[in-house]
Symmetry: none
Subunit: 407 residues, 2 copies
């Protein structure tokens, strides 16, 4: 039997409130250089400590052993969607990161401005990394003249330096396509092709990309150095079952960064705009308490510090989070999970495959008799080491949302 | 999406050196009789202790919960091949154990000399367990007269007591076949049959076995008590993806016993001949350091002692290993895994299903803050309890050999 189908069948609607609090990139590794402590272990966390004693802990494998996830797969896993089954194209993630609101069926492409010579040969794949302002100017030129191709709406949005995103919103469009990118200098830009020759939506989309090139190239042909562009990761927003239907929970997203709002929106969470700090996010949670059943609260700064390899900054980010936590606890959710979407160890200076620690707090979580929430403590927690996609099922179970299986 | 395909897609070639050190049958269980210590816990292991502090630990399920593996599946798992997907016939394992070098397509059978009466009824399936010397003499008689059947080369090699192996090297041969063995005394030897009636290679092979019987039986018909023989586990060497292509690692095998050299060779590792002790194996590792990326180093004596139920001998084998370890550490591999292929608990006097402890040491393994490498410590390691087939993926991750999955 399909496990997701079983979960669905057993799911009961209740009045429980669930909160999934994600400290991005929370997990870390203990090293000799840092006196065998992780930032979470080195931080002073009196408020986390208070709930730790009454919580269960464990560690979560974001995707599969050894696999380092990007933010997309990391969050899909936390939302309970198998990241190997529900893959989100890079164009879509990039569009979400730029704050574009996508609709089902939208096809997105990440694009680079590039330098092309008189014969169409790419001489610089990044057009000398033009300043962001130049990119914005060029995107405005393109967007001003290309609003529609046939019955398809075209949205163009500038990113940082040479990067931008193009969204195709029309009927019967599908990805993925091959890239319009030779992947190295000295070659012409190849035409895109359907990944599946028999897919009508991909064929239509490939023709549309060709038309887009025809319309766009003349507009920037005399610019220097960005007189051309490459397009990659061309894919449509995947069909993802709606969170509310899948879990019988009405979900809200309290995130500050566009990427995470976008990922939440992909599964149908309601974006709540406004809060800019974790304290404001928790305050808003209190205000919205009666309006939703499930709150996804995202905190970015642990990941940022990890990416910088800045141990003290990551420790401080955790302490700042801890200081705000009592606001959330004023009206405790029935089930509270605190974790990361992956590890971002300072020693790695980037995302990693290491299992992130997770704390699960509810009247029924049981106590693992741990005085603190740490990676080392989590190793001996009652939840063990498990795949992140099951966290939401444990949260539902703790909310008494599952009927008994069998008699 | 298929996970192996994903791993392949994400794999990057690097300059990292990886070493997988297998203490055969390392895992054990603590019992009251031994003062609640395992041999690994009772042993003095100052050198393992030194690296334990900077390592991650966990326990590995060789195949699946409760399944006790033979050496074949145990090692295939360690090499990252799902032992349920890649099954190696017993004939092949037996041939490898006798030091036969197999080629792709070879079909192997394990055989027993037996006693047969005038009516063809098996009266002793092991011919009274004839001495090994008699077996060698009989095999030489057979090998002297049967070198080829049609265009198929026949290799015959004696094992211990009544056991021997026959290898069929020809074109278009396949297994598996049913056994030429009534499985009990008092019955005639059945003809072999293809397991799949529609498989041409199996049909050809079944005819070949019948021809082999016709040629061989008259040669030994007047011997006593071994005037007949049974054949079992008739199968071809399975098609296994080459290690080097699968992992982008150039692998070498430093083993002493033929079985393990053979298993390494099955996946395409280069056998390095010469070393006869663990110290010599480590010395040779130092010499070959620049020539390979991956070293499989196999140590047999822990398993031997476990099979004998000899606690003190297993403890001593671990101490001998530990004493040699500093040689390896003179030129530390970037990623070092130390584990067993399964447990061989002294109380079991044989292989078992108990999860074996594993230690993973690299600049990015993180420290589990454990002062020693033991079964009990490994229970609270950050790697948790996982299937052995994932170890190599964790080793690759620690060697930074995987690109990020998704954006």
């Amino acid at each position: 039997m399909n496990l997701d189908a079983l979960y669905s069948e057993l799911t009961l609607k209740t009045n429980a409130k669930l909160a999934l609090v994600v400290l991005d990139g929370l997990g870390d590794i203990a090293t000799k250089e840092q006196n065998y402590l992780t930032p979470l272990e080195a931080a002073s966390t009196p408020n986390l400590d208070k709930i730790a004693k009454d919580s269960a802990q464990g560690r979560m494998i974001p995707i599969a052993p050894g696999i380092t996830p990007g933010s997309g797969p990391g969050h899909l896993g936390l939302f309970g969607y198998d990241p190997l089954e529900f893959q989100v194209g890079r164009g879509v993630i990039e569009a979400l990161g730029l704050g574009l609101e996508l609709k089902p069926g939208d096809v997105c492409a990440r694009a680079n401005f590039a330098t092309v010579d008189g014969k169409g040969i790419v001489t610089d794949r990044r057009a000398g990394r033009i300043p962001t302002e130049t990119c914005e100017k060029l995107c405005a030129m393109l967007a001003g003249k290309i609003k529609k191709i046939g019955d398809t709406d075209i949205l163009i949005k500038a990113g940082k330096e040479h990067r931008f995103v193009v969204v195709f919103r029309g009927k019967g469009l599908e990805g993925p396509l091959t890239d319009a990118d030779p992947n190295r200098e000295g070659f012409a830009i190849p035409n895109v092709k359907p990944r599946d020759e028999n897919n009508a939506g991909q064929k239509k989309m490939a023709a549309l990309i060709a038309d887009f090139y025809k319309a766009a190239v003349p507009i920037i042909a005399k610019e220097k150095p960005a007189n051309g562009f490459l397009m990659r990761g061309i894919a449509h927003q995947p069909h993802i079952p709606l969170f509310e239907e899948r879990y019988k929970l009405k979900p809200a997203c309290l995130a500050v960064y566009p990427m995470y709002k976008g990922l939440a929106q992909l599964v149908g969470m309601k974006k709540i705009e406004g809060p800019a700090t974790i304290a404001e996010q928790f305050e808003r949670y209190l205000k919205e308490y009666d309006n939703f059943d499930f709150f996804f609260i995202h905190y970015k700064y642990t990941d940022k510090a990890g990416e910088d390899g800045n141990f003290m900054a990551k420790m401080k980010a955790i302490e700042d989070f801890d200081a705000a936590l009592p606001i959330l606890l004023r009206e405790k959710p029935d089930v509270l999970a605190i974790t990361g979407d992956h590890s971002t160890p300072c020693a790695v200076k980037g995302h990693s495959w290491h299992a992130q620690p997770v704390l699960l707090y509810s009247a029924l979580s049981g106590s693992d008799k741990l005085e603190r929430f740490t990676e080392t403590g989590a190793n001996s927690g009652s939840l063990g080491v498990f795949e992140a996609k099951y966290l939401i099922r444990l949260m539902q179970a703790n909310a008494k949302m599952f009927d008994k299986f069998g008699a």
